[in-house]
Each structure stands twice: as structure tokens, then as C-alpha cells.
């Protein structure tokens, strides 16, 4: 699993970090974003919906998992 550490970074930086990490992710692979900005919980699933990627949920506080599906 690829990890993107965006802790301490404010909106929209965690989403930018996630988007920039995507080219290095293989289809089917999971990215875990670490982010403590309160907007991340809303904006990571919204990004997945807009970009057609799969949001897997938040396994623990300040962590969000995304599967690259295309």
C-alpha cells in the first residue's frame, strides 16, 4: 500500500497530494492518505466520486483509503 502523508497540511493540499501520487499507483492498488485537516473526511470521498476512483473508507482517525480503479 502506498502512503501519502498530508498531516499538518490544510485544504486543499491533502487532495492535491493524493492526486499527484496517483500516476505512481497501479490499477487495483490502494493508497492511504494521512490527513488531519477536517475537510479531508468530506473531500477525499468527493474527489473519488468526481475522478471515478473507489473510496474504501476511513479505517482509523485521520486516515483514508482509496483504491485506484482506472
Amino acid at each position: 500500500m502506498i502512503e501519502v502523508d498530508s498531516r499538518g497540511r490544510r485544504c486543499p493540499l491533502p487532495i492535491i497530494d493524493l492526486a499527484r501520487a496517483m500516476p505512481g499507483v497501479k490499477v487495483g492498488e490502494v493508497v492511504r492518505v494521512l490527513a488531519d485537516d477536517p475537510a479531508a473526511a468530506n473531500d477525499i470521498p468527493a474527489w473519488c466520486r468526481m475522478k471515478g476512483q473507489e473510496y474504501l473508507g476511513s479505517p482509523e482517525a485521520d486516515a483514508y483509503e482509496v483504491r485506484k480503479v482506472k
Binding site: 490544510r10 485544504c11 486543499p12 493540499l13 487532495i15 492535491i16 492526486a19 499527484r20 485537516d37 477536517p38 475537510a39 468530506n42 473531500d43 470521498p45 468527493a46 474527489w47 468526481m50
Partner: protein, 361 residues
């Protein structure tokens, strides 16, 4: 402010400076002005004059509606049911009250009526609140359906009509209603509270008469006169303005979706206020976009967390589950022209692109 309201304000400064509760001649004149303003607003909304109260702001009116409406129903129950997209004034009053139950909305920002029914029908519900239309995304709420549910269960409905009064017709079926003069093109500093006859309301503030709403301390009569004159003038133009602004909003929704990549146009495409449009741009700092637009002479708002004092994203955008960063809310008014909209649409794509480039996107 509407020019008619401005004229009324200047005239009332001359004639309505006295305390309308005093018995001397100037006081009686002020009393007549207050009665005329009250009658005008009552007629505009279709209620009785003794159901109308002027308060110092829309926020004060919302607090009085929620806390007074709940206090009046203390024997029936304690729970305050409200939609997840109420104005923060209502949410703050809910927090002060303590026992509250929130009802969600869908992706377009429309109330979940089934969840509303379930919450309102739960024994112990004292009061329910539904905003007439979202102040952030413009989605018009199913107030009359929600009111029918409330009536069935004997629960009074409070409607916050601040965003819609003067822009779209007042729905029916409510028990309490509030609005803000500043929002309908009147002066700042006048809130409106309407409590229908037979609705139990008990003042949350200290005072002599706890059963009738009234302003704490003296009212600003010239502004009330201006608020009433503005409301009447705005309602006379309401349909024509809605017919003029709706296509402009539609143009913004359509053009922004076509010319700005990675953008989410927010809110119901059809059941919406005629003057308000909201969208979110991926990878864009809302504050940076606000300042960039400001430099081009556009005063817009944002629901992004970077623009909020709390650093939290807008609770409305969160409740809808739509992108909260890079958010822009454009509110059109009677001074906005088609040329203004075209200029906005011409500069926006470049500004968004520049901000994205700077962020490395």
C-alpha cells in the same frame, strides 16, 4: 438597499426618531409609522399584523423562534428536530437548547422527507425547523410536504425564510417564520419574526410580557420603516427579477461546467432560488480564488474551510457530501447585469487555472 427603502429611511429619520411607546406627539407619530410598517409586512407575508414582530437582526429572530418555540412547547417535549443545512444561527440555538435531532439531505441538498417523518413523529418532539431554501447552495426545500408531516403529528414548524423572502413565494403551513431585511434588500439591523395565532411561544429572555415576542430594548424605527418599504417594493418586482436572474444563474451553471475543468456545480438544477449559484473547483484554495475574484471587482462568498473562522468546511456542503474546497457562491442581485455575468464567466477559468498552476497541478 432598494432605492425605495433608502427613500423611506431618510423620511423616517425626520419623522420617526421618537420612542413609539411614548405619549407625546412625536411618540404618537412614531407609533403610527410602526403600525404602518407592521401592517405592510403582514400584508406582504399574508398574516395578521399582531403576528409580526421586528427584532434587531435575522440572527436574533432565529434565536427567538427556536428558543421561544421550544420553551412554549416544554410540556409537549424537549427534542428540537432540524435539517442538517440550517443557518448557523439556528444550529447555535439548537446547541444552546441541547436536545436536538438532525435530519440529513441528499447530494442535491434536498431534505430527506422519510427521515424527517421518522424524527418528527418520535414522541417528545417539541419543534421542527426547516430552512425555506439553502442559503449556501440555493436548493429550495419541500416546506409544504414537511409542514404536512408536522401538522399530522401536532408539531409546530419553524421556517427560516431569510434567503428566499423577496426572491421566491413564501410557502404555507408553517407556525413560526423568520427573515432578515438585509437579505431582501432592506437595511441591516432588522429581523422579522412571525408567530401564527394559536402557536405557543414563551420568551427565552427576561421581561414583563413573556408570551408575546418583542425586541429587547428600543427598536430602530427608521430602519423598520425602510425594511417594510423595501419588502413591498421587492415583492412587486419579485417575478420579473426571478425571470431575469434565473437564466443568468443557468448560464453560470452551464458555462462554468464547460469552461472550468474538474468543477462540481452544487445544488438542485431545477428546484432552486433564482439568484444563487454555487460551485466547487478541485485543487483550488477557496480563499485564493475569492481574493482573485475580488481584485476583478467580484464580491463572492465561499463555504470552504480556509475561508471560515472555524477552519471547518461548510456544514451544508458536508451534509450534501459534495466537494468543499475551492467553493464559490455567487449571489446575483437587482444591480447585477448580464454583462457582469459575462465578464465573470470570462475571467473565472484563467483565475482557476493560475491558482492550480501555482499549487503544482
Amino acid at each position: 438597499m432598494h432605492p425605495v427603502g433608502r427613500q423611506a429611511l431618510l423620511a423616517a429619520l425626520e419623522d420617526g426618531w421618537a420612542d413609539p411607546d411614548r405619549l407625546y406627539a412625536a411618540g404618537r407619530r412614531a407609533q403610527q409609522l410602526r403600525e404602518a410598517a407592521t401592517a405592510t409586512v403582514a400584508q406582504c407575508i399574508g398574516v395578521r399584523p399582531d403576528e409580526v414582530t421586528f427584532l434587531p437582526s435575522g440572527t436574533t429572530a432565529a434565536h427567538a423562534a427556536v428558543l421561544g418555540g421550544l420553551a412554549g412547547r416544554a410540556r409537549a417535549g424537549k427534542t428540537f428536530v432540524h435539517s442538517a443545512i440550517e443557518h448557523s444561527a439556528v444550529l447555535h440555538a439548537a446547541a444552546r437548547h441541547g436536545e436536538a435531532r438532525e435530519v440529513g439531505v441528499d447530494r442535491l441538498g434536498r431534505l430527506d422527507l422519510r427521515a424527517w417523518d421518522e424524527a418528527v413523529s418520535t414522541p417528545g418532539t417539541a419543534l421542527a425547523a426547516l430552512i425555506s431554501a439553502s442559503h449556501e447552495v440555493g436548493t429550495v426545500q419541500p416546506v409544504e410536504e414537511a409542514a404536512a408531516v408536522c401538522a399530522e403529528h401536532g408539531v409546530p414548524l419553524y421556517v427560516d425564510a431569510a434567503q428566499s423572502l423577496g426572491h421566491s413565494p413564501v410557502p404555507s403551513g408553517w407556525s413560526l417564520l423568520t427573515a432578515s431585511a438585509r437579505k431582501w434588500g432592506g437595511p441591516a439591523g432588522v429581523g422579522l419574526l412571525v408567530v401564527r395565532k394559536g402557536v405557543r411561544w414563551l420568551s427565552p429572555y427576561p421581561g414583563d410580557d413573556l408570551h408575546r415576542p418583542h425586541a429587547e430594548g428600543s427598536v430602530n424605527l427608521p430602519e423598520i420603516v425602510a425594511a417594510a418599504a423595501s419588502l413591498r417594493a421587492v415583492l412587486a418586482e419579485e417575478q420579473a427579477e426571478a425571470a431575469r436572474l434565473s437564466p443568468l444563474v443557468e448560464k453560470i451553471r452551464k458555462t462554468v461546467a464547460e469552461t472550468v475543468p474538474d468543477v462540481e456545480i452544487v445544488g438542485d438544477p431545477d428546484a432552486r432560488l433564482p439568484h444563487l449559484v454555487t460551485f466547487s473547483c478541485l485543487y483550488v484554495d477557496g480563499e485564493a480564488l475569492l481574493h482573485a475574484l475580488d481584485r476583478h471587482g467580484f464580491a463572492v462568498s465561499s463555504g470552504s474551510s480556509c475561508t471560515a473562522s472555524t477552519l471547518r468546511p461548510s456544514h451544508v456542503l458536508e451534509a450534501m457530501g459534495v466537494l468543499s474546497h475551492g467553493n464559490v457562491r455567487v449571489s446575483l442581485h437587482r444591480g447585477t447585469t448580464a454583462a457582469d455575468v459575462d465578464r465573470f464567466l470570462a475571467v473565472l477559468p484563467g483565475l482557476v487555472e493560475a491558482i492550480r498552476k501555482e499549487a503544482g497541478m
